[in-house]
Amino acid sequence: MIPALGLLVGLAVGLFLHPAVPLALQPYLPIAVIAALDAVFGGLRAVLDGIFNDKVFVVSFLSNVVVAAFIVFLGDQLGVGSQLSTGVVVVLGIRIFSNVASIRRHLFRA
């Protein structure tokens, strides 16, 4: 409950404050957001599976974000930033889909 409220508060703050993304962070923010979403859906699925653990969620969230940003950074340094970004987005998207599918089975049995 509290994290869900936190998500809404964060959205509202972001919408009202119009923050500018620092130039250095611009390539990494979208990937980090997607990685964090993956962690969130993974956590939701773990809740439904009955194996949720706060500590694991926090660690997975942070490590997902950091690793995704690092992969993009590495790709930019190697000159394949756009391709690696696409790859990361595809992988994270597949994981989000599979997590959502599992959540869906728990909630709707379908």
Binding site: I2, P3, G6, G10, G14, A36, V58, A101, L107, R109
Partner: protein, 277 residues
């Protein structure tokens, strides 16, 4: 590390297209009738606020996530070219360059067309001006237009009716020799076709009888013409020998007002001249 990375008990289903054959795979793992209420209960239980450090941290992370999502969405909406990657930028640059060169070419073509049109109209205006000047010259020559300018006014008094047509003709020729451009005798304009005749009643010019005193108006260089009239053995001397009086005034601005009605030629036809290119 991540919870979602730990594979669930079920085989990974085909995600975008969950077909009917997933269901038998999940059916043995859980009892369908008992599944819904435990899932809801679990959610409710986990959603209860707990004052643990990890939960607070999770809330903080969620705030960060929401903030990041909103920021990124806004950034993406507001960003123009700087959000594009190098290859896209190169593509856009290429397109712009191509378009720019096309527009350059078009501008050059239009400029050339414009230059052509402008020079055409100016040469047309020049031709019109030249034609107008030629017309003016011809009208003065033909005597169909009044002429105005510096010149001399010469009066030949003829008390004894001694002045003859040859004398007047001499006067006209002397004036022409001195550069007279338009000449009038009394009320008759002297043109190329003017003829002098010594008739029974005196001098006739173009068939009209003319009597003294003869007033000759000539436009040209006044000094040249008056000195031409006064040269020894010239007109003035001849006229005085005949007993006529002659009086010459140099005038800065006088008008030759008489007009000559041109007669359409009955026999002469112009020979066509090839138009100058």
């Amino acid at each position: 590390m991540s919870q979602s990375s730990s594979p669930g008990p079920r085989p990974d289903p085909s995600v975008k297209n969950p077909s009917a054959k997933e269901r038998p795979a999940e059916a043995p793992s859980k009892d369908p009738s008992a599944e819904n209420s435990p899932a809801g209960k679990t959610l409710l239980r986990m959603a209860r606020p707990r004052a643990t450090k990890a939960n607070a941290l999770a809330a903080l992370l969620a705030i960060l996530l929401g903030f990041a999502v909103a920021t990124q969405v806004r950034q993406n909406q507001s960003l123009g070219l700087e959000s594009l990657r190098q290859s896209e930028l190169v593509n856009i640059l290429d397109n712009t360059t191509l378009r720019s060169s096309r527009l350059d070419q078009e501008a050059r073509d239009l400029q050339a067309t414009r230059d052509q049109l402008v020079s055409g109209s100016t040469s047309g205006a020049a031709a019109l001006k030249a034609a107008q000047e030629r017309l003016d010259a011809l009208r003065i020559l033909a005597g169909t237009s009044r002429a105005r300018g510096p010149g001399i006014r010469m009066t030949i008094g003829d008390p004894g009716d001694k002045v003859t047509a040859p004398l007047l003709l001499d006067a006209i020729q002397e004036l022409r020799d001195a550069g007279a451009e338009a000449i009038q005798v009394n009320n008759i304009r002297i043109v190329a076709s003017t003829h002098f005749n010594q008739g029974a009643s005196g001098v006739e010019i173009d068939g009209k009888s003319v009597t003294g005193p003869y007033s000759i108006t000539a436009i040209g260089d006044p000094a040249t013409m008056s000195s031409a009239m006064e040269i020894p053995g010239g007109l003035s001397e001849n006229a005085r020998q005949l007993g006529a009086t002659i009086n010459i005034d140099q005038v800065k601005d006088l008008t030759v007002g008489a007009l000559h009605m041109p007669i359409a030629p009955r026999y002469a036809r112009p020979v066509p001249v090839p138009a100058p290119t």
